[in-house]
Amino acid sequence: MTTLVTLEARRTGYGLRQAVRAEALKLATLRSTLWTIAATVLGVALVTVLVTNSASHHPRNWYGGWWDPTNEALGGLIIATLSIGFLGVLVASGEYGTGTIRSSLAAIPRRPVLLGAKAAVVGGLTLALGEVLAFACFGIGQAVLAAGGAPTASLGQTGVLRAVLLSGVFLSMLALLGLGIGVVVRHTAGALATYAGVTFLVPLLLSRVGGNPGRYTPVPLLNNSIGAVVNQPDQVPVLLAVALMTGYCAVALALAAASILRRDA
């Protein structure tokens, strides 16, 4: 391992730094990136207002054991679980679909470097976006709940800051999941469908099975465990939820690495 590291350090020529700079410019020079981000921000804000406004009109729920104003507000992130995942998918499938991948690999022929740079840029951008969204959701949600007279939460309360912060992290992990799917599936339509199927259809189908194994899939993990402070039905312990999501990402990126290394471009 030490030899590997020193070899890499001694190597002249391009490396992850150049690849990351190029990947960042790729995202910045596509209008679709800006549109996706803008649509996500607006969609999340809108859904947050709708969800919390509806909750603020059902006072009967406020004093049951399950009332969780943090979780109500973060419910608006459901829109982002789809659009941020799509962003990850498109970073890969957009290149395969247009043939840009051949330009990219001509410039960065060591494929793990290219995949690593994509993961770093997608992960970094969506982490920042995810945190902004999570905190915005929380703020907007509490304001709407307060206006409706419902009990609210504050970041200082136990578990609230953790729920908000980890929700942002989770969104960027969903983008990495999408990136992995995009590299493996290559076709944009197929990759988007696969992502939507894995995140939305699979939990729906599994929820009909005994014991509801659907709760261990990414989006329910975010909704019911990561973004929850008060115990929710179908809740999975937070540590397990983080471990599972990390595992899903690792599997998706490992499959992507195997695919990009073994298959012709």
């Binding site: 391009y14 150049q18 190029a22 020079t29 330009s103």
Partner: protein, 317 residues
């Protein structure tokens, strides 16, 4: 310098490239000639490390492409005209490539001017015509000022002025001492551009030679004679043992004699000649002759599968 050794590529049951070895030298334009589907693009993708060879190696500057330190500064390639995102401007496409290999930004505008895209550089590349896309691909190839250049069908989609421009560009790049490897199925174009040739058919090497040598090797070389007494002249020539045909338009075509021999013979026998022309085979004739049997998709013949093709191709090679 590009060196291919025993390059082989199988796709499921078909063989795209079989045991292909050749060298591409610096200082000259080397044409890569073969019918459609003969494995030219596959070979170029293997040189670029995009496709992994089933067997054999392709080396650039003595190394596999993936081990180059600054790939775009050592090798420039136009592999397909549309290897860019339609939503990005031509200039942004080049800026991204420049960043990936630490190429200074001013070089982006330089190559845009070289290929004549300066005025449309800010437009989305999806709006470019096929020819403009081709020029953007050429700009990307030139970006790192590389010593080795690969062009796959570079004149596709270009207008006559663009074709002349590419011809000049390729020659001047070679004159600067660079290695220039250009594939084409357009034989006439190759005869105007290339000095050396790598000719393949059905994925196997048919010839690796100079254009001149390739043409002169061809058997289709004859002397065309126009005379008012065609039939008598043909008969008289046949008496000397020459192979003679009479063309549809009445011209006598003589094989196996030089034009000097034919002229002296005519003078000696008092034949009046209106025309005496040595006819050199064109590169196209030579190519057709050599690849005739090696053409992948002849009418009525299905693409050949791996199991059956080994014997047929060996015969042709």
């Amino acid at each position: 310098m590009i060196v291919a050794r025993s390059l082989t590529k199988h796709y499921q049951r078909t063989v795209a490239v079989r045991d292909l070895s050749f060298d591409v030298r610096p200082g000259v334009v080397t044409g890569f000639l073969g019918p459609n589907g003969s494995g030219k693009s596959t070979t170029m993708r293997m040189i670029m490390g995009l496709d992994v060879p089933t067997a054999g190696t392709a080396l650039v500057h003595g190394r596999p492409y993936a081990e180059l330190e600054w790939p775009l500064r050592e090798v420039g390639a136009l592999l397909d005209a549309r290897a860019f995102h339609p939503g990005r401007s031509g200039r942004d496409h080049l800026r991204i490539l420049a960043r990936s290999n630490d190429i200074p930004l001013r070089r982006v505008d330089e190559v845009l001017d070289i290929v004549g895209l300066g005025s449309v550089a800010q437009q989305r590349a999806g709006r470019y015509s096929l020819g403009m896309g081709q020029r953007l691909g050429i700009a990307a190839a030139l970006l790192g000022d590389p010593g080795v250049l690969l062009f796959d069908e570079p004149v596709n989609g270009l207008d006559p002025e663009g074709i002349r421009w590419v011809r000049h560009l390729l020659r001047s790049l070679a004159q600067e001492g660079r290695t220039v490897f250009v594939s084409s199925h357009l034989i006439a174009e190759m005869s105007l551009t290339a000095q050396r040739l790598v000719v393949i058919g059905r994925g196997t090497l048919i010839a690796e030679t100079t254009v001149d040598e390739f043409v002169s090797r061809s058997a289709t070389k004859f002397v065309r004679v126009v005379t008012p007494a065609a039939a008598e002249f043909a008969d008289a020539l046949r008496g000397t043992g020459a192979t003679v045909r009479v063309d549809d338009d009445g011209a006598v075509l003589v094989d196996g004699l030089t034009s000097a021999d034919v002229g002296r013979f005519a003078a000696h026998r008092d034949f009046t000649l209106f025309e005496l022309t040595p006819v050199q085979a064109s590169l196209e004739d030579a190519f057709m002759e050599l690849t005739n049997a090696a053409v992948e998709f002849r009418a009525g013949e299905p693409a050949v599968a791996m199991a059956t093709s080994s014997t047929t191709t060996k015969e042709n090679a």
